[in-house]
């Protein structure tokens, strides 16, 4: 089976600074990969590259069977990025946000409803404006948007940040469910213990490259 993510010697530049300095990474379907590493190591950039937001300066990147250089639009519609920002419209309600993002790929009403249901947003919260939600509820709404958008590859940047213990447990359960349902997930996180238990594989990012556990460059 084709890997979902296949990066070889990928270099990406922000301004004139090389945020990714030659990344080799292969991720298979259903995996939950944890990216760890110090601040500024390139975790966020790696996720943005996979989302098609950061142009590939050198190297190869094939995502979901599509070459990132030539078929970027095809990649984008199937990849979901949840960064530091949630990408939600604060003045709209939870249901309206999920419906909007679902509609960008033509999701039907039942699909949107199912996404809300899976995130536990279908009842009490569905008509609450996003600006009135807690951080954890916002994160759940954003994940519901990814589900409604039918994202096959989830790229999550510090998803646990700002959540309380209960919300984190909820999030972990959600991610496990999603992976079991066929999504591939890459998580960047500082929360080693928690995310480590969640992940099927841990990858260390240092200096814009990926290191194996014994410190060699992958």
């Amino acid at each position: 089976m084709d890997p979902v993510v296949h990066l070889s010697n990928a270099v990406a530049v922000l301004g004139q600074f090389p945020v990714l300095a030659g990344v080799n990474l292969t991720v298979n379907r259903g995996e939950i990969v944890l990216l760890q590493g110090p601040n500024g190591a390139g975790k966020t950039s790696l996720l943005r590259l996979c989302a098609g937001l950061l142009p590939l300066a050198r190297g190869e990147a094939v995502l979901l069977g599509c070459d990132l250089r030539t078929q970027r639009e095809a990649v984008r519609s199937r990849v979901g990025l949840l960064g530091h920002a949630n990408g939600l419209y604060a003045d709209l309600t939870v249901a309206e946000n999920v419906r909007f993002w679902g509609a960008t790929v033509g999701a039907s009403k039942p699909e949107v409803q199912a996404a809300l249901q899976r995130m536990g947003l279908a009842q009490r919260l569905s008509d609450v404006a996003v600006s009135r939600l807690s951080a954890g509820q916002k994160r759940r709404t954003a994940l519901a948007c990814l589900i409604a958008r039918r994202a096959e590859l989830w790229l999550l940047d510090e998803p646990h940040a700002g959540l309380d213990a209960a919300a984190r447990d909820e999030l972990d359960a959600t991610l496990r469910d999603a992976a079991a349902a066929g999504a591939t997930i890459i998580v960047a996180s500082h929360e080693l213990e928690r995310a480590g238990a969640l992940a099927t594989r841990v990858v260390e990012v240092v200096g814009g490259q990926i290191r194996t556990p014994n410190g060699e460059v992958a």
């Binding site: 095809a74 990025l81 960064g83 990408g87 003045d91 709209l92």
Partner: protein
């Protein structure tokens, strides 16, 4: 493309319905500008002579604010990135945001026109109503198109507040000229006749045609990083 455009437009208008930023802040701003013009010009005769120009000038100032607001909605929580990352058709985003902006501008212009009638004793005449309506529609669409186009370019960068007026104001000069002259004709300001107004509407139409095509093509590359 049009499906995405409808979606985006509906979303923008719904956000406005909920937040009421334009209604509660931009409309009062536009009205106060109209009052300020009267202070600056200090003569009833002059004010009523230049009323059409003042209406459009106030529209341009408000346009700058409306465009900023339109893209502030997207940038507040990273929705611009999310839209790009989701592979949403940029042409659809462009047309959708322009449609929503046009609706908001139309409301604003109506308020300005009413305030001109009230404050500057501008009088509408029956014979010019068709011309007036067509002028307002064409100018509104034109302004919404270029506003969205340059707003998208300036929206994602540092210094956007200062870059937008520099890019936008020179481009909308033809709209200011065309819409003002056509409005003067429609209202009969300074003895202008209705027939004088139609060539100006033609100018506005050319503007709309050029920037609807140009904008649809150009918006993608402009917002892409």
């Amino acid at each position: 493309m049009f499906r995405v455009a409808r979606l985006i437009a509906a979303k923008d208008l719904r956000v406005e319905m909920r937040s009421r930023v334009v209604t509660n802040q931009v409309l009062p701003f536009a009205a106060i500008v109209m009052v300020m013009f009267a202070f600056a010009l200090n003569s009833d005769a002059v004010v009523s002579r230049v009323a059409p120009g003042l209406v459009w000038l106030a529209t341009l100032f408000s346009l700058l604010i409306l465009v900023q607001r339109s893209f502030a909605i997207e940038n507040a929580d990273g929705a611009t990135d999310a839209l790009r990352a989701a592979g949403v058709d940029p042409s659809g985003i462009f047309l959708g945001k322009a449609m929503a902006l046009a609706v908001q501008l139309a409301v604003l212009e109506l308020v300005l026109l009413v305030s001109a009638v009230v404050l500057y004793s501008t009088e509408l005449r029956v014979g010019g109503l068709v011309l007036l309506l067509v002028t307002f529609v064409a100018a509104t669409v034109g302004l919404a198109l270029v506003g969205t186009l340059y707003g998208g370019l300036a929206g994602g960068v540092r210094g956007r507040e200062t870059l937008l007026p520099l890019l936008l104001l020179p481009v909308v000069a033809p709209v200011l000229i065309g819409a003002t002259r056509a409005t003067e004709s429609a209202l009969g300001t300074g003895g202008a006749t209705v027939a004088d107004g139609w060539p100006w509407v033609g100018l506005l139409a050319v503007f709309v045609a050029l920037f609807s095509v140009g904008g649809t093509l150009a918006f993608g590359p402009l917002i892409e990083e």
